[in-house]
């Protein structure tokens, strides 16, 4: 059976067998993961490990083609490797891990060492940064990829030879001033933020969790209008009282108090302090006429068939309908808490009760401030940080990720000297124009200001259990001198910044490594050169069979005190476009998303120079 005829022709027989005997890791089995796994399996990769902590939901099925309706709620990582068996024509060995890649107990550094190549197919910044760092510690090549809507990007990362994931800054969630949210909204998103992060949070979520919108210091930094500050304080007190009513009053009382206090009395109080200064461009609010609506609301509530309103996700609800939805959702939320089933409730876009509450409250506030009403469908997108995602872009990006990863296996290997493969590789940005479908760019060197790979080298410090309990910190300092450090100039810190050693603090020198509090397997220590000659070194402590320190040559320390102008030039030289085109919002909360193959487009790469085929 010549199933592999084409692969041998395209890749070369020797390269193909190198791919077949390789072991690679794919982190994430969502939109990109499903497509990428298909490509890797069909390209002949020998052993593929898949890590994902998510389960399958209905909205995954429009693009994550390895999942079916009856897979909903099952583990993504376990389901993909089963599904792939249908076309595992080349007998790849698939190993699934249902878990969080950042779990060091489940995935210790020794586990990472087995892989030759790492493919990221992740949807959140935190895990991406973590995998990037692990690959820097172990000098493993990493393929970073992401999509949003019609756009997507791949970035091959060859540690210390090309830019790492952290070399370019990523856009994070937009935050709004407290005053915009709490007293002067002008856009639907302000009201949605208010409904979700202020009103819902104050009423139903854990009180202790940090709350920027009620932080007095934050408020004082934005306004010195004492009347406005007093207004904010009064409103917070009222919310605390309302929260108390959840468990002490019946639903009609609670909800009536909610409507009167939040949508009428508070707005009336706001009008008392109304001025250009507090308005900040927002319209003059009109308090909700609760009395006028209450009889109509009673009419709606009397007929059970009106519950259908809650399902009209794409309709613009009227003010009355919004009041109705607020009533119905409050009633259920109150019941969930009163019944003792839940002590608090967090907003979750897939929890219909919380979404209904936030949608209705946000719309009522919008109508008060003369802002357009949004459908529940649209509010869900904003409140839930949903990033649109489609099958085609994921297929294209995964195809390129597989091709670029495979290039590593068809290029002669020189251990961790990645200069040849770095030179041969490109970033690819998918963004359609009339004349080209993609823009590719050469891999730039690490950004000299990057905290992850330019200012510090990383490595694994292996130490045997015996050596760990017998060798001292003084011994380690001696070893560090082999890197060119001087014992008089370095300081050694634990990851939590606790100082272990410097020239003025040698108390620990005669202690064994094991007896120093907190030093253990998986802990990081940072060595810095206070004489500014050499870069810093971060070591990952790994209790292993044999003791060894990483082989590496430290680079001279780069200091940055050039004027601003030169910095900008430096950015341009790195091939980055200053004008952002197609920048994707990366929301810090997107990690809660079940399915978004989030793209991080730093900047569109500049056109690359031609390479020889």
């Amino acid at each position: 059976m010549a199933k592999d005829s084409y692969l041998k022709k395209i890749l070369g027989a020797e390269n193909f067998s190198r791919i077949q005997s390789s072991k690679v890791l794919m982190v994430g089995a969502g939109g990109i993961g499903c497509e990428l796994l298909k490509d890797l399996v069909l390209t002949g990769y020998g052993e593929i490990h898949i890590v994902d902590l998510d389960t399958i939901t209905l909205s995954n099925l429009n693009r994550q083609f390895l999942f079916r309706q009856n897979d909903i709620n099952k583990s993504k990582s376990l389901t993909v490797s089963k599904a792939v068996q249908h076309f595992n024509y080349l007998n790849a060995h698939l190993v699934s891990h249902h878990g969080n890649i950042m779990d060091t107990n489940k995935f210790p550094i020794t586990w990472w060492e087995q892989f030759e190549y790492v493919f990221n197919a992740l949807d959140n910044l935190e895990a991406r940064r973590y995998v990037n760092k692990m690959c820097l510690f172990l000098k493993k090549p990493l393929m970073e990829s992401g999509t949003t809507g019609f756009k997507g990007q791949i970035q091959p990362i060859y540690p210390y030879y090309s830019e790492c994931f952290d070399c370019s800054t990523k856009e994070t969630a937009k935050t709004y001033p407290v005053c915009t949210i709490r007293s002067s909204p002008t856009q639907p998103v302000h009201c949605i933020t208010w409904a979700k992060e202020f009103l819902f949070h104050s009423l139903f979520d854990e009180v202790e969790s940090d709350q920027n919108l009620t932080d007095p210091n934050q408020i004082r930094s934005e306004t010195d209008n004492e009347a406005e500050i007093a207004f904010f304080q009064k409103e917070s007190t009222e919310l605390a009282e309302l929260r108390h009513l959840i468990t002490t009053a019946d639903p009609p009382t609670f909800i009536n108090e909610l409507l009167v206090k939040i949508f009428k009395a508070d707005i009336e109080r706001l009008l008392l302090i109304d001025s250009i200064e507090t308005r900040r461009g927002s319209r003059k609010p009109t308090p909700l006429d609760v009395v006028r609506y209450s009889s109509q609301l009673a009419g709606l509530l009397a007929d059970v068939s009106n519950e259908n309103i809650l399902n009209l996700d794409t309709k613009m609800w009227s003010v009355l309908e919004n009041i109705y939805v607020l009533y119905k959702s409050s009633e259920v939320l109150q019941e969930r808490i009163v019944s003792g089933r839940e002590s608090s409730i967090s907003f979750d876009k897939d929890d219909e009760d919380t979404l209904n509450f936030v949608a209705a409250a946000s719309n009522l506030r919008s109508s008060i401030f003369g802002i357009e009403i949004k459908s529940k469908f649209d509010i869900k997108e904003i409140a839930g940080n949903i990033i649109p995602a489609i099958a085609t872009t994921n297929a294209i990006i995964s195809g390129f990720a597989c091709l670029a990863g495979t290039k590593y296996f068809t290029t002669p290997s020189h251990g961790t000297d990645y200069s040849a493969i770095t030179h041969k590789s490109s970033t690819i940005f998918v963004g359609i124009t009339p004349n080209k479908y993609i823009t590719s760019g050469t891999l730039g060197p690490p950004n000299e200001k990057c905290p992850s790979d330019a200012l510090v080298s990383r490595g694994v410090f292996k130490i045997s259990p015996t050596d760990f309990t017998t060798l001292t910190l003084g011994w380690l300092i001696g070893q560090l001198e082999n890197y060119g450090y001087s014992r008089d100039d370095i300081s050694i810190q634990k990851s939590n910044s606790k100082l272990l050693y410097d020239i003025d603090y040698d108390d620990n020198v005669d202690l064994t490594l094991a007896s120093m509090s907190g030093l253990k397997d998986g802990e990081l220590i940072l060595i810095s050169d206070d004489s500014d000659q050499l870069e810093s070194l971060e070591l990952y402590i790994n209790i292993a069979e044999k003791t060894s320190l990483p082989e590496l040559v430290l680079r001279p320390k780069v200091t940055h005190d050039e004027p601003e102008q030169e910095n900008e030039d430096g950015l341009l030289e790195n091939g980055m476009d200053v004008e952002n085109d197609g920048v994707i919002l990366l929301d810090s909360e997107a990690e809660n998303e079940e399915n978004d193959d989030l793209l991080i487009i730093d900047d569109e790469p500049s056109p690359k120079r031609r390479k020889i085929a």
């Binding site: 076309f87 009339p434 590719s440």
Partner: protein, 346 residues
Amino acid sequence: MTKDELSAQEIALYDRQIRLWGMATQLRLRSSKILIINLGAVGTEIVKNLVLGGLNTIEILDDSVVKPEDFAGQFFLPNDDSVVGQTKLPLVVDRIRELNNRVNLSINTESLDSLIANKQYVKAFDLVIATELDKQMILKLNDITRELNIPLYVSGMHGMFGYILTDLIEHTSVSVKEAGNQPRVVGTELSRNKTITNVESKEKSNDEIVTIRDVFSPLKEIFKSQELPKQLNKRQLKRLSGVVPLIFALFDITRPNDPDTVIDVEVLRVKAIEICNLLNIPAETVTPDYLDVFSRQAFAEFAPVAAVIGGALAQDIIQFLSKKESPINNVLILDAVNSEMPIYSL
């Protein structure tokens, strides 16, 4: 299922794409009937993407039997060596249907040659996609689609290389775009035959409503077009690779039956240089390196390349049907060796 509204279940299933292209596009997809000719690796990717997208009807036409090399990229085939020699489509249809049972999926194992004689057959579709066809068949099919006023996409791959040719006859798209520093001007040719025909500024926003009209050449014009050198500046022309003439040359060469067969380099060279002359591009673009690569990789299927081409083609069909974005006009080339994907208007 009403004609002009999506059900709550459809909205929930298609949530993440509706948020991108809107309900109106989703409704257009739901009312479109598409014919796809040949289910190779590229066809497999296209079908996967369009079935997931939620089209109304997809008919797959392919009379071939399973060959061992099909297992390289045709992932709907059962993982069972004993199916080699059996007719392909009945073996894959259930697995395709599983992706999305809302789509009317049908298979047809008659030969294209016999069906093409019957225009009524082609007429039933809103759009035709043809993959892995030779030039003679492409032109025959295009004559019919032109006559019936049906848009045609043509696609295929050769190892690390792939192509999409489009004759969509004409297309008008209206989209909301952010207004740049320079206002868009009516009459601007974005590329040959792709023209801005209307610009309106959208009230209370920094957006413009832009109408773009595309006019397409019949495919027979593409094969003898002299437009390519006009679309390149001197530097681009100098670094133009042999990919275009070699892909075009392979339209005139019969696919070998044995996947291990290497296309005769001399035959390929002569053909490619003939095409260079026809297209008015330098014969030196056909370098020995490229000849060697193409002689070995001609017609070879490779999953990641199929994914890129199949993804781009399915995406373009969705753009076309949506009437919101301007489609590929009219030759897209994928060079996965150099990570390039230019679009030429020939």
